[in-house]
């Protein structure tokens, strides 16, 4: 349930932007949830709900739209692009758990599906990211 810490960062950021941009209203916040971090949407939604109660930001849970972001990896050595789900070697539970906490340790447990290098980039779908905050001044 470390998802709460990430949910908190979302709510705090919305509040900061609200003040900084002097918004009178926030319509919609789009949050990308990168596949690599294997965040459970139920837990994340529950965490957001609790953080909303705690911080009372100018948004409802309904205004926060979670979108799963497919994880695309790109090898720096052979230029191969692949999807996280297509990794042939199934990750162990504790490896998945480690990546859940710190997505970058993917470099410890995953390899390029073509050349076997650990030297790949996480092009998209890494973790939690605010794609946009739409509001009215």
């Amino acid at each position: 349930m470390h998802e709460w810490a990430l949910a908190e960062s979302i709510i705090v950021t919305i509040m900061k932007e609200y003040e900084k941009e002097k918004l009178s209203k926030v319509f919609k916040v789009t949050v990308k949830i990168g596949e690599l971090q294997s965040i459970e949407l139920d837990i994340f939604n529950f965490a957001l709900e609790n953080m909303i109660e705690l911080y009372k930001p100018p948004v409802d849970l309904n205004n926060i739209c979670l979108e799963i972001d497919r994880c695309i990896l790109k090898c720096k050595v052979c230029d191969n692009h692949w999807n996280y789900r297509d990794t042939p070697k199934k990750l162990e539970e504790d490896e998945k758990e480690a990546i859940h906490f710190i997505p970058e340790v993917a470099h410890t447990y995953m390899r390029c599906t073509q050349c076997g290098s650990p030297d790949f980039e996480i092009l998209q779908g890494r973790g939690v990211w605010i794609d946009s905050i739409e509001g009215e001044k």
Partner: protein, 243 residues
């Protein structure tokens, strides 16, 4: 927009002092100093955290013999309390295996750790820095509002040159520098003191090369009995560093 950047200083708000043990060069005793400093402060009944940010060569856990613990998940992650020190390291997640990360990824991992670790109230958070003035150093400067640096060097010219470079970056950016510690002294001269003269950066003192340190690694009781820790304790007791 990276939401994590907005939560980092909130995670650190109940920590009185954040001290990054750095020095530019590798192998000068940064990890040894960070671990001993954390031990010393904990013995003085301060509440202490130790954060190992050396992702390529994490060593704090080896020095303190930390093994078989894992952070607890509770609205974030809680650093396990080991021998009186709240400890966090990448090794919890890489399990001692290699983590060949590029700079941008190290930066991202550091941001993640800072965003999700709930230290709780601390008197000191000691950071064991990797060598260099690359991503980790630049991120600690950029992200941790109240960080102070404690620099380590050896008497060797190669170490001194690198330390001076780091010092010049820190001073230019007005980052507080507690002082410079000279480690692994073998001969009688202390070139660090001369190098610092006129720079208005405190020379904290010297720690001798300690042939028996290696045998104490991994054992906190033995470490506390080493010449290294004794000399560090004397330096700390006589400095205004801890107040």
């Amino acid at each position: 927009m990276d939401p994590r950047l907005n939560i980092i200083n909130k995670r650190l708000e109940n920590i009185k002092r954040v001290i990054a043990v750095s020095g530019g060069k590798g192998g000068i005793g940064k990890s040894q100093t960070a671990a001993a400093l954390a031990q010393y402060l904990s013995m003085q009944n301060y509440r202490v955290g130790l954060l190992d940010l050396d992702f390529c060569g994490p060593s704090s856990h080896l020095i303190l013999g930390i093994d078989d613990v894992f952070p607890e998940e509770d609205m974030g992650i809680l650093p396990p309390l080991v021998g009186g020190i709240h400890f966090m390291s990448i090794t919890f997640f890489s399990g001692g295996q290699p983590a060949p990360l590029r700079g941008g990824e190290i930066s991202n991992a550091i941001i993640e750790i800072l965003a999700i670790t709930r230290w709780g109230p601390l008197d000191f958070l000691i950071i064991d820095m990797p060598p260099g003035t690359g991503d980790p150093t630049l991120d600690v400067i950029r992200l941790m509002e109240r960080v102070e640096f404690l620099l380590v060097t050896t008497p060797s010219r190669v170490a001194q040159e690198v330390m001076k470079k780091e010092l010049s970056v820190l001073r230019e950016l007005h980052i507080p520098v507690i002082g410079v510690l000279e480690n692994m002294k073998i001969k009688n001269n202390s070139p660090t003191e001369e190098v610092l003269a006129g720079l208005q950066v405190p020379f904290l003192g010297s720690i001798d090369f300690d042939e028996d340190l290696e045998d104490a690694l991994g054992n906190t009781d033995k470490l506390l009995a080493t010449g290294f820790v004794k000399q560090l304790g004397q330096i700390l007791a006589h400095s205004q560093m801890i107040s």
